[in-house]
Amino acid sequence: MSLILLAALPFLGAVFPALLIRAGRDASAGAAGMVTLIAFIGLMTNAPAVMRGEVVQAQLEWLPGLGLNANFFLDGLGLLFAGLILGIGLLIILYARYYLSREDPMGQFYCFLLLFQGAMVGIVLSDNILLLLVFWELTSLSSFLLIGYWRHLPEGRQGARMALTVTGAGGLAMIGGMLILGNIAGSYDLSVILTQKEAIQASPHYLPALVLILLGAFTKSAQFPFHFWLPHAMAAPTPVSAYLHSATMVKAGLFLMARMWPVLSGTDAWFYIVSTVGLVTMVVGAVIALFKDDLKALLAFSTVSHLGLITMLLGLATPYAAVAAVFHIINHATFKAALFMSAGIIDHETGTRDIKRLGGLRKLMPITFVIATIASLSMAGLPPLNGFISKEMMLEQVAHTHWFGPGWLMVAIAVFGSAFSAAYCFRYIGHVFLGPEREEYPSHPHDPGPGLWLSPAFLVVLVILIGLFPQTLVQDLVKVSAGAVTNGYLPEGLKLKLWHGFNLALLMSSIATVVGLLLLWAYNPLRKGWDGTPRPEAKEMFDQVIGAFTALANWITDVLHNGSITRFAAIFLLFTLGLGYIAYSGGTMAAPDRETLTASPMAIVGWVCLIVSTLCIVAFHRNRLLALVILGIVGLMISLMFNYLSAPDLALTQISVEVVTIILLLLALNFIPRETPVEGSGARQTRNIILAVGGGLGVAGLLYAILIRNPVMESISAYHLANSKTGGGGTNVVNVILVDFRGYDTFGEIIVLGIAALVIFAITESVLSGPVRARLLNRKPPEPVAGDAHPQMMVVATRMMMPIALMVATYIFFRGHNLPGGGFIAGLVAAIAVIMQYMASGFSWAAARQTWPYHGIIGSGVLIAAITGLGAWFNDMPFLTSAYTYVTIPPLHEFELATAALFDLGVFLAVVGAVLLALESLARYAWQPGMEPEHPMDINPERDDAPEDGTKQEAAT
């Protein structure tokens, strides 16, 4: 089977259990089992070639630009691991079918399990370290889901998070390491990297790469001091623990070290880091395991210890150690998976995993007893079981290794660790199965059905058989795997055998066993001492660290994003000023070359008015009405300034916009407090003043620097001046730019206006559909209100002024193309004419006489502009291409017709509609019952006095 298919199979297959769960638990488990079985068989089809020493390869291009390709290869190491993953996976699937209860969503379980399986297979088959990283992180994620599978358990949630955090962190470190490695080697393909030992080890980046990669491996394989997550992951259902935390995932770190062994090992750094970490982990794990009462915790720490052992062997970096490591990986997988499953059986049948509540199960659960005992003894390293052989090899290697300090130090530590290892194995047998039967267990213990015990039994058979016939059963596999680790260097005449003769290793092993028995004999006093000794509790520390980080993150986030927009704005300004200054000071400027103008007295008067009124607003801004009054002066002065500096169009626009803006602000001011309260600290004031002065100086300086220099290059507007009349048909170049050269800007601009009106309308609707409406209806004016809402003089004046203003608007509109004016100003003037009417007779009265909907006015404005623009398409011209012509209809003189005028009409309508819709919204806020006057003016003697004759009736509306 192709490796690609092999790697993809579990992922593709993960869909089936989830889908088939409706068909029943058996169908779901069966689907998972079939998928795994097919994959296993597929793997086996490749086995012969691998056993012959070939490397099976498969390539698929994925992201060649990065050097990330779906390249797979299968060598001995990969075969060993893939076999373990799929083989034990098969057993676990069987076991889990009977282990999980009816309430557990089994489809999900098998789905996650297969995802995990796929990720693991992917790791061991990857021929590309980036691809390996993908699968590596996937194992973290899928194990997160598996550990948290029992969602109702807070331990599960926490354990899952802890596992994800630790292994995820390691994984990220490894990404860094792998990328460095890939960059040194010039490729991310393992087959290339593995040939670059010299280059890699010579590189200055070797050490960081090594450390980062080892961080990944150590965290994954629960090496000290990252071992603490593994026991907490035991909150997972036992099949998960058996699979992930004995046979597979935790071995991924070992696999990685083995995989990178040819390029990374052989240096002092590797030797000391890896072997020391392994040794310490081995001892620490063994010691803690002895004192754990939870069966699964005991097994978890024993796993930690054995992983340490294998790590240490890999760290020693000799071919013999590699062989021992590979062999122990196989052995550990067999006995530890069996032990986890037996622990699961005990938990399942007795209702507890607490050793203190167990004991004497020998007769009640004989099958389980046999299975567990054989597996334990193998773990303890007793002959003739497989654990014995690999442990002997380990001790043999240790005995020939020079580590720190005196030569015997490592031997002593190893024996010490082995003794504890033996002790907890004996305790597992002694305190659970042996001893007197208890009067009561949480439930009635008995052996389970074969569905549960078949899988561990099969493994235990392997334990015995491998122990008895290692050469027949596994020697070839071990050789070819170890060969893959060591790049083919194997100890000469290697033979796996049960009996090595009386040697130092056997002696050490014996001592360890005896001491182990002694430790168990002295368990109670030892336990007292252990319980009395203060120890760092890894979980609490982890929780504290994570808690601290979370609190810190909370704090940082809250402090930075405290909701104070004024502070955000201050930071914005400060940053802008700072960077602007840096940019300025890093450049150079030519001497001023522009002839400056002399300020006439008129300009100085304007300047004084502008500055003084601005400062007045700053000083008086707390009186809001006053601020608005003075704002009118500022607007007026700016308008005069535009006039003074050759910009009549701008002057007209400025003054019109000013009036409408002030009306809007006055309308809004009606609802809000009339005064701004004094608040804010002095420091705040100082900050504001400093920023204001800084900003003012910056802008003034920048502008002055611009104004006293001529443009370095000629402006494109020379073209506009030259082509305005001939190309655009108008003599007001500003207007021609607006409706023609840059009509597209104007198109966007009227849409902005239209959107503004829509937003205003929508927000008014939203607010009025909420609780605010009642409040507004019952609103009392904050100040006493004068009588005579619609004064006669104003009404009568408006009757004259409004038509005249509309006339003026028309005039401004039509002259715009050639003289100052245009659709926008005309629109504003027209809108103001209508506002005049609103102010005279009130919005309700006036709006009742208004027939066109504002939405329609806005929409038609935008549409007219758009359609005018689109009209050009029929001429095969781009959007917004204009046309104009001169027409003569007798007896009239020649006049101009231009599409620009149509476009400007769109502008005009959009402006009128937008302004009026905005006003309408404000008027709706202000609306209160009874606010619909019948008459345009409040006082009209002609109307109210007794009629002298019948003709003086007011025309009906």
């Binding site: 007295p601 008129m602 009405l625 009054v629 005069l640 003054i655 401004i812 006003l919």
Partner: protein
């Protein structure tokens, strides 16, 4: 020549008037006086714009004066209505 001086003189008058109104804006007691001052400033500004056009001999700026005349009224009424009624378009 005399015309130019007359224009200068008138501009000086209206400019001074503008500054006096400004002074009133700065120093007045309540809002009402300031609205009055602003209204007077608008009137003076109209005169200044027309004078500017005469001075430069162009009619280009005339519409500005006209629009200011028309719209200054609206904003003054708006301020006053606000003081009277709060809601300026009720």
């Amino acid at each position: 020549m005399i015309l130019e001086y007359a224009i200068y003189f008138a501009a000086f008058c209206f400019g001074s008037a503008l500054l006096m109104c400004l002074w009133k804006v700065v120093s007045a007691e309540g809002v009402g006086d300031r609205v009055l001052a602003l209204d007077t400033m608008v009137i003076n500004a109209i005169a200044l714009v027309v004078l500017f056009g005469m001075w430069k001999g162009t009619e280009m700026y005339f519409e500005a004066a006209m629009i200011i005349a028309m719209l200054g009224f609206v904003s003054t009424v708006a301020y006053a209505r606000f003081m009277l009624r709060g809601n300026i378009i009720e």
